[in-house]
């Protein structure tokens, strides 16, 4: 009974008193969630600026003296790594995982609040080490976000000296932080659920976070292992990944290692990583859609099974990133098959979102707009994945802009859409105020249409054969001049979308202080986090008594009940009584609080 005490103790214990213990060294999962989210959003903005600079070079080559090939590759590398790991993983699990798990499950906090705090500070350290690598001699690593050896640690690649060391060390620290967080999330979900909250009554957000945390715990070790081995190759002169080779004409001391082995390890982490990001996003968007369509989620059990199945399958598809890596080509048969199998549960999820909307009563709120935008972009990104997963179709397309278009659609835009949906949806709980819906709609339209106009054309550059990771195409015989105009157009869209994110930042700041006040349950949602006594929830979340759960998370528009939602903690007797009297279930104020225009 040491660290885990708070989950079981009554509410009046452990109240932090000073500002520092309340907001800085906080052990409250809600504060930690906000710390995680703020750090992740900050570092994400850095990565956004980096992508803007890359686009400037691609759209208008030879115009910007400060972008040379070395700097360009450094921007590419840092942009990719920050977005995938330090933004998406941290924001979805560290941010939303932390905020939602105890609240949605009816717990007072995570089971290990101290470990939780440590997890955030370790994450912050990894971010600082990562960003510091820009300022070391030689600059940040420019090896591409996949950090493939041998080139990652050889001269000829920018940042091969200190930059790559900082990157590997930062990743190792991040993995330690994630492991502390992940153990916490998994244990809390397994052991701190409120009375009556069976596994199948958990909201899909929690299912997504749960399976993603397990995937993270089992997949990040592969990245750690490869980082340690590459560090040894770089520092101790071992030859894990380094065969006998030259570098820029000089013989090196290495011998016998296998660069492809690194790729296997990297993608054994890298593919589950896609689902570490996708599964929480799938879950949260399901909850947003159900709430704002006032309809139960369609095929709940199928969705849970699909999440579990996708989680399991994600460990046996990794080499579809390596069809042209020089590995044994016979692997192609196996990995193409498993990859296309994983498409089936993923497709079912898409159908189920649309079928949830079907015959619903769709409130076109800002979160709902982002959720619908997500369905569109995810459908697009998922379908282009079928090109790359099918081994022969990958041959002409791999390493071209088609790949860039695909993974930005499926792993960039889609999770970001969900993140925005989630932020607009849960902001009233976090702060007690709505985000401004006018700014929100403007933000949505620019982001949704802008990103599509960025990434759709990229696929066509890929068909043409335009290579990714090229600083400049220069004159070529097979690429028409018009491709450059297309590139310039993409850049203009990208800059507009990038700038539009300022609207969101302004909205966040403005609404935190001046936004329209929201009640405890402004969206009239069923899940537990909306049933807290105060908004934002106080320390310990639930006041004197923990909630008791009587039903699943999706009792919207239940026949025979006048109110169109029944909270999870509403006992059957209350429903029966209300039905018998023909009256209202509780203080349901009729029309929606945030109706559409």
């Amino acid at each position: 009974m040491t660290d885990s005490a708070i989950a079981d103790l009554p509410d009046d214990s452990h109240h932090p008193t000073s500002f520092v213990s309340k907001y800085i060294w906080s052990q409250d999962h809600k504060v930690i969630a906000i710390q995680y989210a703020a750090t992740a959003i900050f570092v994400g903005l850095v990565a956004l600026v980096l992508s803007g600079m890359m686009r400037l070079q691609l759209g208008f080559p030879d115009q910007f003296a400060f972008i040379d090939p070395s700097a360009y590759l450094q921007f590419v590398t840092m942009h990719g790594m920050i977005m995938v790991i330090y933004l998406l993983t941290a924001l979805l699990l560290g941010g939303f995982g932390n905020y939602l798990i105890p609240l949605m499950l009816g717990a007072r906090d995570m089971v290990f609040p101290y470990l939780n705090m440590l997890s955030y500070w370790t994450y912050l350290l990894s971010v600082i080490v990562l960003l510091a690598s820009f300022f070391v001699p030689g600059g940040a690593t420019g090896a591409g976000w996949t950090l493939y050896p041998p080139q990652a640690i050889l001269p000829g690649t920018p940042g091969n000296d200190v930059g790559i060391l900082m990157m590997l060390i930062s990743l190792a620290i991040f993995i330690v932080a994630f492991t502390m967080g992940g153990l916490n999330y998994v244990t809390t979900i397994l052991q701190a659920r409120a009375k009556g909250m069976t596994l199948m009554r958990m909201p899909l957000s929690i299912w997504g976070i749960f399976i993603a945390s397990i995937l993270g715990l089992l997949a990040f070790p592969a990245l750690l292992v490869s980082a340690i081995m590459m560090l040894m190759d770089r520092l101790a002169g071992t030859s894990f990944f380094m065969p006998a080779l030259l570098s820029l004409g000089e013989q090196m001391e290495y011998g016998g290692g296998s660069p492809v082995l690194f790729q296997h390890l990297f993608w054994f982490f890298g593919h589950p990583e896609v689902y570490i990001v996708a599964l929480p996003a799938f879950g949260m968007v399901s909850d947003v859609i159900a709430t704002h369509a006032r309809k139960n989620i369609f095929g709940y059990r199928m969705r849970v099974w699909a999440i579990v199945a996708i989680g399991g399958l994600s460990f046996v598809v990794w080499a579809h990133h390596m069809y042209v890596s020089g590995m044994n080509p016979y692997f192609g048969f196996f990995f193409a098959t498993t990859t296309l199998i994983i498409a089936v549960p993923t497709a079912l999820k898409v159908y189920n979102w649309v079928l949830t909307l079907w015959r619903g009563n769709i409130h076109m709120t800002v979160p709902m707009m982002f959720a619908i935008g997500f369905i569109f972009t995810f459908t697009h990104g998922g379908l282009t994945g079928l090109f790359l997963g099918n081994v022969v179709v990958d041959l002409p397309l791999s390493d071209t802009y088609f790949v860039v278009g695909h993974f930005h659609m499926v792993m960039g835009v889609s999770p970001i859409m969900v993140l925005f949906a989630a932020i607009y949806h849960w902001f009233p709980k976090i702060t007690g105020r709505f985000l401004d819906s006018g700014m929100g709609k403007l933000h949505f339209w620019i982001t949704f249409l802008g990103t599509y106009s960025i990434y759709l054309p990229m696929h066509y550059l890929g068909f043409l054969g335009v290579p990714r990771r090229y600083f400049a195409m220069g004159p070529t015989e097979f690429i028409p001049e018009s491709a450059q105009s297309l590139n310039a157009g993409i850049t203009v869209s990208a800059l507009i979308v990038g700038l539009a994110q300022l609207i969101f930042i302004v909205n966040l700041i403005w609404s935190t202080f001046k936004g329209k006040r929201a009640g405890d349950n402004p969206w009239e949602a069923t899940t537990l986090e909306w049933q807290t006594a105060t908004t934002p929830p106080g320390h310990g979340n639930w006041g004197a008594e923990l909630p008791v759960v009587y039903r699943w998370a999706y009792d919207y528009s239940v026949p025979g009940v006048k109110a169109d939602f029944i909270p999870q903690n509403c006992p059957p007797s209350a429903v029966e009584m209300a039905a018998a009297e023909g009256g209202e279930l509780d203080d349901n104020k009729g029309p929606y609080n945030e109706p559409t225009a």
Partner: protein
């Protein structure tokens, strides 16, 4: 409401974009039409799903938009519907996968009659090797690679002696003949990709990977490196020329075997000294160059580079462009040289050790050094040049000559000729110096660099620079 219309418009817009896009696969030039067919199938299936799902989404969003008196249905699941969707999706996926695996089986199994050749990658260009008359590629190893044996062929292996070596970025192959390309790398990962052939594969140091195709169309196709291989990845280009059988044989007859290269005559500096007598008037007795006469410094330059450039001048690869008046002068001078003359004089020039007459010690600006960092990968930290990278020495070079050559590369006056195999890279790299000021800064920096004498250890340079303090890196 608005969003339903927008989704409808996006679906229509995507289809219009797709069908009117001028950006599409380059015309096929190999046997891999089956890959294009698989893509076609994938396109139809995914396209239909894309349109169907999103049109349905738009309809649903419109039809079930918020209405005060509407109440949503309550339907936790519908097993029948879910099963149908499951079966339909599985069938669609299988319809894409099955032909894909079928074609992949063809890719994995190379036809018996395929001819082999090797593509060897290094940062940042290509070279090629043919098995020669015995049809067997000789043994190689990375440890054997040096300036005199850039392919790392084992000289004791008799099957390697007749291997035909092509140290150019351009490779020829005969049309309608299946070829198996053996892929080998000296340093880091690269990727062999010709968009018109559709297939590609990584080059991995330590192993030999392969791919195969049958070229079906005559032409000159651009070869790209598609695996990130360092700073100048984007300049790692080459060409695959598909010839008729006769043209191919004519080309092949001109190439040298490993044995021929090993036994090639070596330049004689003493004979070269006599040849140099006519050069000395402009380039100086010690090869120090003469700014007044627009003749560059030659001392400090390696024999290979001099030999290659003299060959270019003689063969009209360099010094033919009307805007290159000084080059035209040089071309006239080189026209009279025999192959043996060129060899000898190059050997002599490589032995010259003219001191640098630098007035401006400390002229090396930070800006110049910063801009030079991308050049240093090939031309060397001290501008000493690297034979392995086919990069000339730049240290001590006259600013005027340097600036003129950068300008020539930028204007495609130099380097654009198809046979200028390494100059092509400079077309792209020279663009990094975007302003006159930048070119000036690098020129001044290089001019002030101490010239490395051949054989002098670089460590010594670093130490003396640190003592001086003005050239630290």
């Amino acid at each position: 409401m608005a969003i339903a219309i927008v989704i409808l418009l996006l679906v229509i817009g995507s289809l219009v974009f797709h069908f009117t896009s001028p950006w599409w696969f380059t015309p096929l030039a190999s046997n891999w039409g089956t890959i294009d067919d698989t893509i076609e199938i994938t396109f139809w299936i995914t396209g239909i799903v894309f349109v169907a799902v999103n049109l349905f989404l738009a309809y649903v969003v419109y039809r079930y938009r918020f209405h005060k008196h509407r109440r949503a249905d309550y339907e936790p699941e519908n097993k029948k519907l879910e099963n149908w969707l499951f079966v339909g999706t599985t069938l669609g996926v299988a319809a894409m996968l099955a032909p894909g695996l079928f074609v992949w089986a063809k890719f994995v199994n190379v036809p018996e009659d395929a001819q082999q050749f090797e593509a060897l990658g290094q940062q940042w260009h290509w070279s090629f090797r043919l098995p020669g008359e015995d049809g067997v590629l000789g043994e190689t190893s990375a440890e054997l690679i040096d300036d005199n044996n850039p392919f790392g062929i084992n000289p004791d292996d008799p099957t390697g002696l007749d291997d035909v070596l092509i140290s150019s970025n351009e490779m020829h192959i005969p049309v309608d003949q299946p070829v198996k390309v053996m892929l080998r790398s000296k340093d880091v990962l690269h990727n062999f990709a010709v968009p018109q052939f559709r297939v590609k594969m990584d080059l991995v140091p330590g192993i030999v990977s392969y791919l195969w195709f049958t070229p079906t169309r005559l032409g000159r196709f651009e070869l790209l490196c598609l695996e990130l291989c360092g700073m100048a990845h984007y300049t790692m280009r080459g060409h695959i020329v598909v010839d008729t059988a006769e043209d191919y044989q004519a080309w092949l007859a001109k190439q040298q075997t490993f044995a021929e290269i090993l036994n090639a005559p070596v330049g004689d500096p003493q004979l070269g000294q006599q040849v140099y007598a006519s050069c000395a008037a402009c380039h100086g007795a010690q090869g120090e160059g003469n700014e007044m006469l627009n003749s560059p410094r030659l001392a400090g330059q390696g024999a290979r580079y001099i030999e290659r450039q003299l060959g270019y001048f003689k063969d009209g690869v360099r010094g033919r462009h009307e805007k290159d008046s000084y080059g035209m002068q040089m071309a006239a001078m080189a026209a009279g040289l025999s192959a043996a003359n060129i060899r000898d004089v190059s050997a002599y020039i490589a032995s010259l050790q003219a001191p640098v007459t630098v007035a401006a010690a400390g002229a090396a600006s930070d800006e110049g050094r910063q801009l030079y960092r991308n050049c240093a990968y090939c031309h060397g930290e001290w501008g000493q040049g690297k034979a392995a990278q086919n990069a000339p020495a730049l240290a001590g070079q006259q600013p005027a000559y340097f600036k003129r050559q950068i300008n020539n590369f930028q204007q495609q006056i130099r380097g654009a000729h198809q046979q200028d195999i390494f100059g092509r890279q400079m077309l792209l790299m020279s663009r990094l110096l975007q302003s006159e000021q930048a070119v000036d800064a690098v020129a001044a920096y290089l001019h002030a660099l101490p010239v490395v004498q051949r054989g002098e250890p670089l460590a010594h340079m670093r130490a003396s620079a640190q003592d001086g303090g003005d050239l630290d890196d």
